[in-house]
């Protein structure tokens, strides 16, 4: 069992593996909908490498962060579906 850290997703505490990207952590946590598009449709990661901007979430109050380029940090507060 690899080391785990706690992050907050939409106010809920979620245990995720340390050292993974936030995008990977959210997918593993059963949160495939990262954001709503401008037309309201659900979206999740596409490219996994910072190009497509589909995995944007709000991290610690900062909107439009690419979850695939962020490592999980203990205690980070993530809001999806925005």
């Amino acid at each position: 069992m690899s080391e785990q850290v706690e992050i907050q997703v939409n106010g809920k505490v979620v245990r995720v593996r340390a050292g993974v990207s936030l995008a990977a952590a959210l997918l593993d946590a059963g949160e495939p909908v990262f954001r709503r598009s401008v037309g309201g449709s659900p979206r999740g990661p596409l490219c996994g490498m910072g190009v497509c901007f589909e995995c944007r979430v709000t991290i610690d109050g900062v909107a439009h962060r690419r979850a695939c380029l962020e490592p999980v940090v203990p205690g980070m507060k993530v809001v999806t579906g925005g």
Partner: protein
């Protein structure tokens, strides 16, 4: 073209589009010739601020007349025109500017334009992301914002309903009075309207119009960050001094939740490259007024060319040097606001009617006389 048009409009920016619509509605057979994409030049580069300005009586007359026409048009504009009646908030940094702010308020009020003076707290309440304290502000609630390329296209669609034709990708090489040369072909018409914006002087030598470059920055979506078009009181000074390069704080909320950040002015010919130094200066000015802008993501930076004239007034009317040639150009940074008024004045003059507004201050000949003096 099957029949000789009554009028050829050169340029399908918002001014050309409005003129084409006004003339076609009067029953003229109009042909619009556009070098690029309709609404794709200066019209696409600007902010789309509909604003009453007070640099001169003539500027006020044309902007307030036009704003009235915009409020009439607004009801029928399709959604993609992004009309947003957000008002303009003019902000004063220092106590020393309060007198000027009060004078501005008095000027508007005396002429029937609603304008509300705000104190430091009023400004902070109107725009919580402005730095505090600012000395004061003036809220002109009747101003607004549109997406100009979509409006240009809409006006052209209306012109076409009245039988007008539009040719895009059609570069006019020369205007010869009542005729234009396009790819070696000579097209004759009853009259020609040069509405080529910043390029108008290239087609009509002697027109005192030159390109005045500006930069804009657009951010990602931050709905609610800013509610009004917010402009520093010193903006007018930046716009007024023609010779030197200048920046002024000017931020605009879009219907999408994005923000447009301006503005800069410089005279560098047609060099469209982003001037990073000036963009830096422009954004630092914006951050001084709205510190929270610093952490927002900017998506794009672009440049555009305002058609500038020496006396900051557009050229609307007959060009006496050439038979059958009319001018509707030189609107500097106010082409979106004044397009509708310009078209109405031009149509009235073409049809031999007396315009609602005295056209003398905009007569193309007046600056020509000055320029040669």
């Amino acid at each position: 073209m099957s029949r000789r048009p009554d009028a050829i409009v050169v340029g399908a920016g918002i001014v050309g589009a409005a003129c084409a619509e006004a003339l076609a509605r009067e029953g003229l057979r109009v042909e619009v010739l556009e070098a690029g994409i309709a609404g794709g030049g200066t019209t696409a580069a600007g902010m789309g601020h509909i604003v009453v300005m007070d640099d001169s009586e003539a500027q006020f007359a044309l902007t307030s007349y036009s704003r009235r026409l915009w409020s009439e048009l607004a009801a029928e504009l399709p959604e993609n025109c992004e009309f947003l009646p957000c008002g303009t908030l003019w902000v004063a940094e220092e106590e020393a500017q309060l007198e000027a702010l009060r004078a501005k308020a008095a000027f508007y009020t005396a002429r029937g334009v609603e304008a509300e003076l705000l104190d430091a707290r009023g400004v902070a309440e109107a725009e919580p992301n402005l730095r505090t304290p600012l000395a004061g502000g003036l809220l002109v609630a009747g101003d607004g914002v549109v997406y100009p390329p979509a409006v240009a296209r809409y006006l052209l669609a209306r012109a076409r309903e009245h039988g007008a034709g539009l040719r895009e990708g059609c570069r006019v090489e020369r205007i010869e009075g009542r005729a234009v040369l396009v790819g070696g072909e000579r097209i004759e018409a009853g009259l020609v309207v040069n509405a080529a914006g910043a390029a108008a002087a290239e087609l009509t030598p002697g027109l005192p119009i030159m390109p005045r470059k500006g930069h804009l920055v657009v951010t990602d979506r931050y709905p609610g960050f800013c509610r009004h078009q917010v402009v520093e009181l010193g903006y007018l000074k930046s716009a007024h001094v023609l010779t030197s390069e200048s920046v002024a704080f000017n931020v605009q909320p879009r219907a999408t939740g994005q923000l447009l950040i301006g503005s800069s002015r410089e005279l560098v010919g047609w060099d469209a490259a982003v001037n990073r130094r000036l963009v830096g200066q422009m954004l630092r000015r914006a951050i001084e007024f709205m510190p929270g802008l610093a952490s927002l993501k900017a998506l794009r930076v672009w440049t555009g060319f305002r058609p500038a004239t020496p006396d900051k007034l557009p050229l609307i009317g007959r060009w006496e040097e050439a038979d059958g040639l009319w001018i509707a150009a030189g609107h500097e940074g106010l082409g979106i606001t004044t397009a509708l008024g310009t078209a109405r004045i031009l149509a009235d003059l073409v049809l031999g009617r007396t315009p609602e507004l005295d056209p003398a201050p905009y007569a193309p000949g007046r600056v020509q006389a000055e320029a040669t003096a």
